[in-house]
Symmetry: C2
Subunit: 522 residues, 2 copies
């Protein structure tokens, strides 16, 4: 029986799974990024988060060796992967990240600029200003109408403006998912393989409607430093279910895999997570980690949705519009609080959670806004910050933790409300990711706040599972991706149902959240 | 040479000093309240803070025994004391606090209702509503125009409304400072000694202009439960420099003191602190502890100052108007944060302070409002709460601590600005209290924010020293209280001067504070 490898490059580590054509999980493994783990190349207070390509290469080799240890390698039919994004990196003409070249090894601007890096705020503002006035039409219209500092062009321009050495050396620019796929397929040169439809469409303003990336005239108007970059990048993209090639000889030998292993297309992690969680029209898949990615699919839309992160044909399932929204910080908010408390000693999240669960909804009057990393959706605004109001001398750490949990749930509600206002009702929610399996308080609060049931994906590795489904489809073992979804599904193992007796309490909390949000933003 | 005892009943303990007529400090001692230390009778999350009269009696005996140990008792000429306030308590017809009677020993409503208790919010609202419409004139006009839930009538009414047993048993109601003075003088019955001008004028709407307490018609309009209470309380008050009697036989014997020891009048703690710190026109004395009390004296005023806590003839120095304002939480804000961090482990204030001092002014964009216990001045509003804005994932505990220090300094600035707007300029500030001697970061931030030099009182016990000055005057050893102030002064031992190079930075911080305050309150 054929087996498939799904790889999921997350923020801190890469996870891998090996599944067979019946959906059985044969093996799984994780490998952390070592330089990242040491905090190198980052300046959190300045919003700078960079990752070294060597971290990825080393972790890729480690994770696959562990995954395949003791497994039948000859039955492996395909590999597909996802990564975080937009996580772009400058490359030379061969598509090699600059940080792998002599002289650039320690330059953060020559590395991958992690999704949550917020150093390109000025560049995003410039892009938005020019795009808003552009007479040919707004290139941001399939990306929610606001271009983020977390995205491809903002980061590319920031590096060009800030770093003359990188500017001189960069012949191309790649997304993490594209480069990684190219590494496995042995072809990283810019023109040698189609880019990920998902990454290009959601993060780089690529659209079939205007034949690819935004026009050179537009890019020039943003900054003449962008001259020539449209041609230097790419025109073609492909949905992930299409094979991009077979495994590079080097990697096949290194791992003892057959030379016939198909390399599938790639996407941003949460999109494959949505695939792995069984996304279909009407089911919102919420991939909950340090931040969230909220995904929907819908038949062709006749208009652009306001204030979300994007709507791209085929970015999740071929033939359907993939809609993406998200919260800039979710687990990161809890981690922040844990870090804050951790300054003094041991801040056990488990104990916090247990004590917070004993506090009634409303956190004794404390209301928080979850914008500790800016706001992604609805209506992206990286300048917004976290706020906590209603603090009293009697406010305890568990009350504050509860308020933060409620804040993140309210942030999630604001996104669903926006989809509903735009005519895309959410009938059910599936949750994916560590927090959805580890924190019953967070999930129950989310269900109560959203007022819809939340199914928790049974797989610990929904993104990697989605990647395996994509790999299986790319290998030709299933006629369509939904067929692979059905056959390889891991299902759900827990449902959180809104408690009717607390509906009023949670409505009141959401009203307080909205009221504070209006107060702070007006 | 005569010696004098000054007693200062603070929030957690009573402090005592023994000074001689040359100003030399001969002895000092402290005794904590034991039930209070165990957290009994309090519900911090509900704003309930009560103290048992036995705590005071036991601590009084302990502190005086320790103070006098090895001292020449025969030279003691007088004792005076201050307490926190408004800290009222229901009594029987003999002036004995109900909690000392059988059946009431454990009833929090039969105890002293500590200044910072916030359970009487509804009653304060009712008092304010009726007072605002009262055709005879506004009884609140010498108390800043807003009657606080922390004050005498609010608390009295709250206990009457809430507790039928207390309502049936209460024949009188006393302030902590009046009762304590009565205990030492052996006369606690309601009519047996004049009440403290300071406590009555600042907290109970007593004024010579209307012949005492507010009219019975007014009290009835607030709530018929108040019928009869004007007559049952008192009409006469006296400034603290007047003797109220000599020591009760019981206490003289217990302590080995001469029967001739004069008992001076009493006041609220911070008022004696201002006396001890050498208050004079133009010098604001800021008594900084868990909360602050900000005091000024001024010649007779032709109008009422908006939004402060009171203006009372002779409440600080006889013949001058005593003006009081304050911040509801100051040290309490730092203690809150320490408690919050302490949930996780050891939250050393010293380490916090050291790390926060290394952060530039502005706390990396974090702005806080210091209203964790409501706002006292300017414009009292107990419903306001603490707010922290500008939080980011990179915000650390020391940054947050620094933001809280800046917030309390800005709260202090708002008070000085109000005095200036009302035509009472502050030319210098003297600081009294633990924090002013322990935290250079807080004091330097205060000086930079207020943009005036701050002298720190040399005495650790400015309030008790003020009480000793009052005792010496009451004993007739000095013609006036200012004479005693001059002779017994402990002076200042440190000055914090605003740093001109940081003036712009601190102005910007104060603007951010005001802007957030406007945003949150509008």
């Amino acid at each position: 029986m054929h087996t498939y490898i799904g790889l999921d490059f997350g923020t801190d580590s890469v996870r891998a799974i090996l599944v067979d054509a019946s959906g059985a999980l044969l093996s799984s493994s994780v490998a952390a990024y070592s330089r990242w783990g040491d905090g190198r190349y980052c300046a959190p207070a300045d919003g700078q988060f960079r990752q070294h390509p060597r971290d990825y290469l080393e972790a890729l080799e480690r994770v696959l060796r562990t995954l395949l240890d003791g497994q039948d390698r000859s039955s492996v039919a395909a590999i597909a992967l996802d990564t975080t994004g937009s996580t772009p990196c400058p490359t030379d003409a061969d598509g090699t990240p600059l940080a792998l070249l002599p002289g650039f090894e320690d330059d953060p601007d020559a590395m991958f600029c992690l999704w949550k890096d917020h150093t390109a705020v000025d560049e995003a503002a410039r892009l938005n200003a020019v795009a808003a006035e552009w007479s040919e039409g707004d290139f941001r219209r399939f990306e929610g109408g606001i271009y983020s500092c977390e995205w491809f062009w903002s980061k590319l321009l920031h590096a060009l403006r800030r770093n003359p050495r990188v500017r001189a050396a960069a012949a191309g620019w790649t997304e993490h998912c594209d480069w990684m796929t190219g590494v496995l397929a042995g072809r990283t040169a810019p023109t040698s393989l189609p880019r990920s439809r998902c990454a290009a469409g959601h993060k780089a303003m690529w659209a079939a409607e205007w034949g690819g990336l935004p026009s050179q005239e537009f890019l020039h108007a943003v900054d003449p430093l962008l001259d020539g970059w449209r041609d230097r990048l790419y025109r073609d993209t492909a949905t992930a279910d299409r094979p991009v090639g077979t495994i590079a000889l080097e990697w096949a030998q290194k791992l003892g895999l057959p030379a016939t292993v198909v390399i599938g297309g790639s996407a941003l992690d949460c999109h494959f997570g949505a695939v792995g969680a069984g996304i279909r029209p009407g089911l919102l898949v919420k991939v909950i980690g340090t931040s969230t990615c909220d995904l929907l699919v819908a038949p062709r839309l006749d208009r652009c949705i306001r204030g979300i992160c994007g709507q791209v044909d085929g970015s999740i399932l071929p033939g359907l519009i993939g809609l993406e929204a998200g919260q800039s910080a979710f687990g990161d908010v809890y981690a922040w609080f844990q870090r804050l408390l951790g300054w003094a000693g041991d801040a056990s999240l488990q104990r916090l959670e247990a004590e917070a669960a004993a506090i009634p909804p409303g956190a004794n009057g404390v209301t928080a806004l979850d914008w500790f990393n800016g706001r992604r959706s609805p209506d992206e605004n990286p300048a917004l910050t976290g706020t906590i109001a209603g603090l009293r001398l009697g406010t305890t750490a568990p009350m504050l933790y509860r308020a933060l949990v409620e804040a993140t749930a309210c942030g999630a509600r604001a996104i669903i409300d926006r989809f509903a206002e735009e005519g895309i009702p959410v009938r059910a929610v599936a949750a994916v990711g560590g927090i959805s399996r580890k924190s019953p308080l967070v999930m129950q609060t989310l269900a109560d706040t959203l007022a819809v049931p939340i199914q928790v994906a049974a797989s610990d590795q929904a993104c990697a599972l989605g990647a395996a489904m994509v790999a299986a489809t790319a290998a030709g073992d299933f006629p369509t991706l939904p067929d692979a979804q059905q056959r390889l599904a891991a299902g759900f193992d827990r449902v959180f149902t809104p408690r009717p007796e607390l509906a009023d309490a949670y409505r009141a909390i959401y009203q307080r959240y909205q009221s504070l949000a209006r107060t702070i933003t007006r």
